[in-house]
Amino acid sequence: MTIDWNNFTPWTSLAGGLMIGLAAALFLLFNGRIAGISGIMGGLLKPAQGDISWRIAFLAGLVLSPLVYALVSSLPQVQVEASYPMLIVAGLLVGIGTRYGSGCTSGHGVCGLSRRSPRSMAATVAFMFAGFVTVYIVNHLIG
């Protein structure tokens, strides 16, 4: 292992993390809900009365965030290395996996770890482990 010092951004990453934590905390305090993005999305696919508008609003906030960010600062460059077929496979796995496992990086990772849920810790270990192994295989065994 070598450390990629050129791309290492501890301060902006920490600041972004604090904002994410604050958003999740405020959402729980004001709305009484877990800010789990896959769960909020998934709930729209089995709509229940009175349970739709807040979901759409939260997701709209996420979708609009780059437009707001661009008002204040220039958006960071992003790079998508995955090919089109790979994006389809990855999207399907993320969609099915997050619903089957009841959460993603936000619901299990941020919120679950914050409320010390052993179940969310197990899920976080599972997806982190699978992410590390997958990148190892793609970059070092196949690539």
Binding site: F8, G17, I20, L45, L64, L87, L92, V94, G95, T105
Partner: protein, 145 residues
């Protein structure tokens, strides 16, 4: 009001994702590449978020109601079962293949380009497939009962 606080929370969450670097798949993959040229930045994202969460969540979950007067809707499942682990593993494989998890996928939509859109559609399709499986299973269970 509930809608207003939802959109603000989503917005703040998204701004955090962008600032932190989570919305850049290349950075996510740099974090997941332990054996390569490793970029540890994203550990600080999770660390920062969980520090704030850990200060607020223990008090928030004890509230009888939310500030806006709604019931506190917390997950009730506690069992670490096969579904949880297999789902987490499948999600992690997809995350490692493209570098997108659900939040950054949504944030990336307005940043343009066909790649985030394609990932988003595939993810939505995957979530839809899950719903169909669940409904088919519920039907089979009620038919056999």
């Amino acid at each position: 009001m509930k809608v207003f606080t939802s959109i603000l929370a989503g917005l703040l969450f998204g701004l955090g994702l962008i600032l932190s670097g989570m919305s850049d798949p290349a950075k996510v993959l740099g974090f997941l590449d332990l054996a390569g040229n490793w970029d540890p930045s994203l550990a600080f994202v999770m660390g920062g978020a969980v520090v704030v969460g850990s200060l607020v969540f223990p008090f928030a979950i004890k509230r009888p109601k939310s500030i806006l007067g709604d019931a506190m809707r917390l997950p009730t499942a506690t069992q670490i079962d096969r579904r949880l682990v297999l789902g987490g593993l499948a999600f992690g494989i997809g995350w490692g293949l493209a570098g997108y998890c659900p939040g950054p996928a949504l944030v990336s939509l307005a940043q343009g380009g066909s790649k985030p859109l394609l990932f988003f559609i595939a993810m939505l399709f995957g979530m839809g497939l899950f719903e169909l499986f669940e409904r088919a299973k519920a039907k089979a269970v009620s038919a056999s009962a």
